[in-house]
């Protein structure tokens, strides 16, 4: 589509950006992928961690993109809140780490 050359010879999965070492992103970065699944913005919803009970906005949790797919972790206890991966045209969303989500309507 463009003249982009692609993967750098020694860049692994994205030097310094998404997928660099132990670095993590905000849950904000899930807005795009989740917009393909949900009609409302789920990153502004508040979720309760199934492990420690802390409540935080999805946007403020820690997103790790090095794992197979994306893994969202609780900012308090680092327990897994959500996993998302794409597989053969399907999105596989694992929400078992959240005991509930509060979503603003309208």
């Amino acid at each position: 589509m463009t003249g982009w050359a692609g993967r750098l010879p020694e860049a692994g999965t994205g030097a310094g950006g998404r997928g660099s070492g132990e670095d993590y992103l905000d849950g904000n970065a899930l807005a795009g992928p989740l917009s393909e699944i949900f009609a409302v913005d789920v990153t502004s919803a508040r979720g309760r961690c199934g492990s420690c009970g802390a409540v935080s906005a999805i946007a403020q949790a820690r997103l790790y993109v090095d794992a197979p797919g994306m893994v969202l972790r609780c900012p308090s206890c680092l327990g897994v809140l959500l996993r998302l991966r794409e597989d053969g045209g399907q999105a596989v969303l694992d929400l078992r780490g959240l005991s509930y989500l509060t979503v603003d309507l309208g």
Partner: protein, 242 residues
């Protein structure tokens, strides 16, 4: 599906600094944009390898035009291409604008304190521009921490929009300052002296590198600002890196 990948045309490019570039994108259809939102950009190499990055929107013009600003990360996989090679007339695959958390909503009449570290100013600039375009009555204040004068984004636009009581701007220069201005990093004291007072209950938006965001939000909470009035965006994947 509320959003998926679309082709956008590169309508213009503008060198913001020696290492950053603003890219004007014309989207395939009219867009609804909230200041603070980002776009995902997907590049595909001839061998099918793909990379996705998120970049904050710096400006929007109805109905279909969005500007992003990209800082080049040396050795990055995507940003050197966007900053050095992409040309007017090229197309990019984009998804969005997306994000409903780190956004300023004009129906909120609260005073607004914006705090930027480096290229973290990008989504905050979208808020500043929307505030000005609406002649919104809420007072805005921007605290902008930057290495040196040459690294400031949007300097002319910011100077034109600054006005007492409407948009007040404080620059913090961490490496080199214009003549007569101090050099130094933000700390808890200088931060508190520069931001809107607690008594005004400001909505606070902080965007920058992870360490900057965590230090600043921690100092504000220690100073008595309510955590639920502080929204943060670390630019790990939000423009500025990769």
């Amino acid at each position: 599906m509320s959003s998926a990948w679309h082709a956008a045309d590169v309508a213009a490019v503008h060198e913001e600094t020696a290492t950053a570039r603003t890219i004007r994108l014309r989207m395939a259809a009219p867009v609804r944009f909230l200041p603070g939102q980002h776009l995902d950009i997907r590049l595909t190499a001839p061998d099918g390898y793909q990379a996705v990055r998120s970049y904050s929107v710096a400006a929007a013009a109805a109905p279909d035009t969005l500007d992003i600003t990209v800082e080049e990360l040396p050795g990055g996989e995507v940003s050197p291409y966007l900053v050095r090679k992409l040309s007017v007339g090229d197309q990019l695959e984009v998804r969005g604008p997306v994000g409903g958390w780190f956004v300023w909503r004009p129906e909120d009449s609260s005073p607004v304190q914006l705090i930027a570290g480096g290229s973290g100013v990008v989504p905050l600039m979208a808020m500043v521009r929307a505030h000005a375009a609406l002649r919104h009555p809420a007072p805005f204040r921007l605290l902008y921490s930057v290495r040196d004068p040459e690294s400031v984004y949007y300097r002319q636009d910011l100077a034109a929009l600054a006005a007492p009581g409407t948009l007040e701007i404080t620059y913090v220069y961490t490496r080199r300052a214009p003549e007569g201005r101090p050099v130094g990093r933000l700390d808890a004291r200088s931060l508190e002296a520069s931001v809107l007072g607690r008594e005004t209950d400001p909505a606070i938006y902080i965007c920058g590198a992870t360490g900057f965001v965590e230090a600043v939000s921690g100092w504000l909470v220690d100073a008595g600002y309510a955590p639920d009035r502080i929204r943060t965006e670390r630019y790990g994947g939000m423009g500025g890196t990769a």
